[in-house]
């Protein structure tokens, strides 16, 4: 059976088993992946996989099942398991299968890979790294091409088909000199063309330079309250945490989010705008549909004012708030007008932080952790790399303490981020 026939068979089976409504996704993927370990080629992988996931509503309750087999027996068993799950769950009026949203086919990315050229780009990257950044040791580098095709169908008539392919890279590296090892750092990117050298992607050049300059870091002396300048990567991970803790299903449904009553009100400094834009041309193979809904770009925070929550259809119906128009995480923070160099020049005392290694931030937004790949700034100048230094604060306060947003931005194929400077962060060393 092809994917469409498999999806149709699954929906028919679920209806025969008593489903009031159902949805099914069927997908096939193939991946070619090249690996480098310890600076040397180590492994080539070819992966083929299948995915069948189904959701069912019966008597007002929901059950789901997922398998990677496509035989009639396996599909029948998965259907029975999903039905049994629903039959034993509590009915909940907020559960449903998404209503009819049309029939559409999406094709994106590059559908024919060039694995030999991918290999050549890696070889070039390793050579460039050795020649231009001799202190850098590539602990692990992975480049791949992944192609996926699939179909989503539900009993309300929606049909979304997808065919896409894209390249990706992921690097993990550190600087070394003699027996001295620097802190590891990493970068990721998604892309559809092999036209550019990997050294010019994923901020590699800046990150390699910074790692090479960080081999002899020092802890900050004592404790002070200062400015945290978050790199684009760090800002992106901060936004995941902020939305996860304050805007997602969990804390909105149980009513513990400190932003529960803040829609339309100021939650961040003026000038701070956060959007999620999977359809933006900067995003490679962005989300086209999720949960039976076609994805659209959306705004979470506009000029500091909270505009929406990151709620699924269930979360929205449960709480009465609006459903998020996508669930992609393709985040953009709008750049400011000040160059990064000017922001740094205006900081009396603080740190530029590239990576945060910390405990899971509390639901109330408290965070603490180690500043990694970071530089101390004093009187407007970068005075050196730091280690064994912790940053502590609250994301609630941080969002309202935005000192500046840079005009400089970086893009990894998943979104676009500037640097952002936040005041009032506790920085403690030894």
């Amino acid at each position: 059976m092809n994917d469409r026939k498999l999806a149709e068979y699954t929906l028919e089976k679920l209806e025969k088993l008593g489903a009031d409504a159902a949805a099914v996704s069927v997908s096939h993927s193939s991946t070619d992946e090249l690996n480098v370990d310890g600076g040397e080629f180590s492994l080539m992988r070819t992966l083929f996989d299948t995915g069948v996931s189904l959701s069912v509503i019966k008597n007002g309750a929901k059950g789901t099942a997922a398998i990677n087999q496509t035989s009639k027996e396996d599909i029948d068993a998965a259907c029975a398991a999903a039905i049994a799950s629903a039959e034993n769950a509590k009915p909940d009026e907020a559960e449903r299968i998404a209503p009819f949203k049309g029939k559409e086919k999406f094709t994106q990315g590059v559908l024919v890979p060039d694995v030999a050229a991918l290999y050549d780009r890696i070889e070039e990257f390793l050579r460039d790294t050795r020649e231009q950044f001799p202190k850098i040791m590539m602990e692990q580098f992975i480049a791949d091409y992944r192609r996926e095709s699939g179909i989503y169908m539900n009993t309300n008539g929606t049909e979304f088909e997808l065919e896409e392919g894209c390249y990706g890279l992921s690097s993990m590296f550190s600087a070394h000199e003699g027996e001295t090892a620097g802190s590891f750092n990493g970068a990721d990117a998604a892309f559809t063309s092999l036209d550019r050298a990997f050294m010019d992607m994923a901020s590699h050049r800046r990150l390699f330079r910074e790692s090479s300059d960080s081999l002899y870091p020092k802890p900050v002396d004592g404790k002070f309250t200062g400015t945290l300048i978050a790199s684009p990567d760090l800002l992106s991970s901060f936004m995941y945490t902020v939305l996860g803790n304050f805007c997602s299903n969990g804390t909105i449904i149980d009513g513990t989010s400190p932003w529960l009553s803040m829609l339309g009100r100021q939650v961040a400094s003026k000038g701070f705008t956060l959007t999620s834009r999977p359809l933006d041309p900067e995003v490679v193979c962005g989300e086209r549909f999720a949960g039976g809904f076609k994805s659209e770009n959306m705004t979470y925070i506009e000029d500091g004012v909270l505009k929406g929550f990151m709620l699924s259809d269930y979360g929205a119906r449960k709480t009465g708030f609006e459903r998020a128009k996508n669930l992609s995480g393709s985040f953009f923070v709008e750049p400011g007008t000040t160059p990064l160099s000017e922001i740094i020049a205006g900081v009396e005392r603080g740190m530029i932080v590239n990576r945060f290694s910390g405990g899971e931030p509390a639901q109330n937004g408290d965070f603490s952790g180690v500043a990694k790949n970071s530089f101390l700034v004093e009187n407007g100048k970068i005075v050196g790399a730091v280690n064994e230094t912790m940053i502590n604060g609250s994301f609630l306060e941080l969002m309202k303490s935005v000192r500046a947003i840079s005009s400089d931005t970086e893009s990894s194929g998943g979104g676009v981020m500037p640097w952002a400077a936040f005041d009032g962060v506790t920085i403690s060393g030894k």
Partner: protein
């Protein structure tokens, strides 16, 4: 049980290390948030993979279809990939040393209860929480079970069959604070070892005492204070010892990370800890004679599993190896090459990593600190090539003049592993093991970790 469609492929393996693995993995999950069923999922993956070694490089392929023809195709694809890499890279390394042929089996028995079992338990427990603790701001209860069933054949090592089921119940309680905020705390009921859900969670009664302790702690945390940031004297409770073993030391002595530049590359044979500290990555049996939380008898490249002593009386004495890295370092592999899913290649992973208990009593250790902290619960952690590590602390208490004081809010501790371990001055005489976590390293992997409480100096985050 996975049917054997791979042994017959031995004749097609050719020269050079080759492994074929068929694997089925299952996941069952039910989540209830404040009375609402927010997840109710059964998922299962099945497939086969092959990996082929050629002169210093590997070719790998995997597919979901598990027929004799598909296995043959996957093996051929792995051989082509190995050939491509060898032709392009040309490392010219020698073949991996052969391991005597044998078949190793681990089958503790596997049952796969229907979803109703999970739902009934979780809903009953949630109803108990709602009734018993009305002061809570929120609560969540999740049942989770997974299993990995693996069938392995190799052409130059051990063959194997294993099935490892795990099941846990996670409870998170959220308490209101006087400033209008909230704090939360979680525990894993039955998180010490692995097993099947229907054998371990037959009634909520045995877990009520643990839930009562959790409630008491979260209410104290709601009145807690921020830790005072800086380098402090601390007692790390036994629940944190495993995190030290895993994050602070374990990752730095994984041989692939050593080759990638870990600080441990230059420390073999040197003192890295107080002589009180001995640390072992156990394969399947702890030094007490008890079964390790997540036993491994053969790894996924055909190496019979045995213990790897990493630190002996404060001296770094070993790395965790794959067959290839062991050959590089001139060491013996002890079965640390493990893969998560059928589509994953074996990587060097920890198994059951712990610090051997000492002779001190926990209460005496607490009494010996004038001004510090007793840290009791953790969540996540991370290590660095430099040996710098951190992990989150979800529960802890001040120690003032040898007595426990106020609870503290969530924080993070950090240090440089081989400096911090030299500051250890006491280890308690008991240990605690946990098995509910996943380690992340390209692939996730269930790992066990454990150890005693210990006294040391560590950098703590706060205000």
């Amino acid at each position: 049980m996975i049917s054997d469609r791979i042994s017959e492929m031995k004749g097609l393996m050719g020269a050079g290390h080759t492994e074929i693995r068929a694997q089925r993995s299952t996941t069952r999950r039910v989540g209830v948030l404040k009375g609402n069923v927010v997840s109710n999922v059964r998922s299962e993956t099945m497939g086969v993979c092959a990996r082929v070694y050629r002169s210093g490089v590997y070719g790998f392929a995997s597919g979901a279809e598990y027929s004799p023809e598909a296995v043959r195709d996957i093996l051929a694809a792995a051989q082509r990939n190995a050939e491509f890499m060898d032709t392009r890279v040309g490392k010219g390394k020698p073949a991996l040393p052969v391991i005597p042929a044998q078949k190793l089996t681990f089958d503790p028995g596997f049952t796969d209860p229907e979803q109703k079992k999970y739902l009934d338990f979780v809903l009953e427990l949630d109803a108990y929480l709602e009734k018993t603790y009305p002061a809570l701001a929120s609560r969540s209860v999740s049942a989770y079970a997974d299993s990995m069933e693996k069938l392995l054949v190799t052409n130059d090592g051990a063959d194997g069959y294993s099935i490892l089921p795990r099941s846990y119940v996670y409870v998170t309680l959220t308490a209101p604070t006087s400033d209008g905020s909230t704090v939360e705390l979680f525990t894993v009921l039955g998180g010490q070892d692995a097993g099947c859900f229907d054998k371990r969670y037959t009634s909520i009664e045995p877990f009520k005492a643990e839930i009562d302790r959790l409630y008491g702690d979260v209410m104290r945390k709601a009145e807690g204070v921020y830790a005072e940031a800086g380098l402090r004297d601390v007692i790390l409770g036994p629940n944190l010892a495993g995190m030290i073993a895993h994050e602070a030391v374990g990752h730095t002595v994984e041989a692939d990370l050593v080759l990638g530049g870990s600080v441990a590359a230059h420390l073999l044979g040197k003192p890295v800890a107080s002589e009180l500290v001995t640390m072992v990555d156990y394969a399947h049996t702890l030094s007490s004679g008890k079964q390790a939380p997540l036993p491994v008898y053969v790894d996924d490249e055909g190496t019979p599993a045995s213990d790897e002593v990493l630190i002996k009386d404060g001296i770094l004495v070993g790395y965790m190896n794959s067959r290839e890295s062991a050959q590089h370092f001139g060491m013996e592999p002890h079965g640390n090459a493990r893969a998560f899913a059928f589509s994953d290649e074996p990587l060097i992973r920890m198994r059951n990593t712990g610090i051997v208990p000492g002779t001190s009593k926990l209460e005496d250790m607490i009494a010996s600190i004038d001004n510090g902290y007793y840290l009791t619960e953790t969540g996540n952690g991370q290590a660095d090539t430099t040996g710098e590590f951190m992990f989150g602390v979800n529960m802890g208490f001040e120690i003032k003049n040898g007595k426990l004081g106020r609870a503290i809010r969530d924080t993070t501790v950090s240090g440089v592993a081989f400096e911090m371990l030299k500051s250890v001055t006491a280890l308690s005489d008991d240990d605690v093991w946990v098995s509910s976590g996943f380690c992340g390293k390209k692939q996730p992997m269930p790992v066990g970790m454990g150890g005693p409480a210990f006294k040391c100096k560590i950098n703590i985050g706060g205000r």
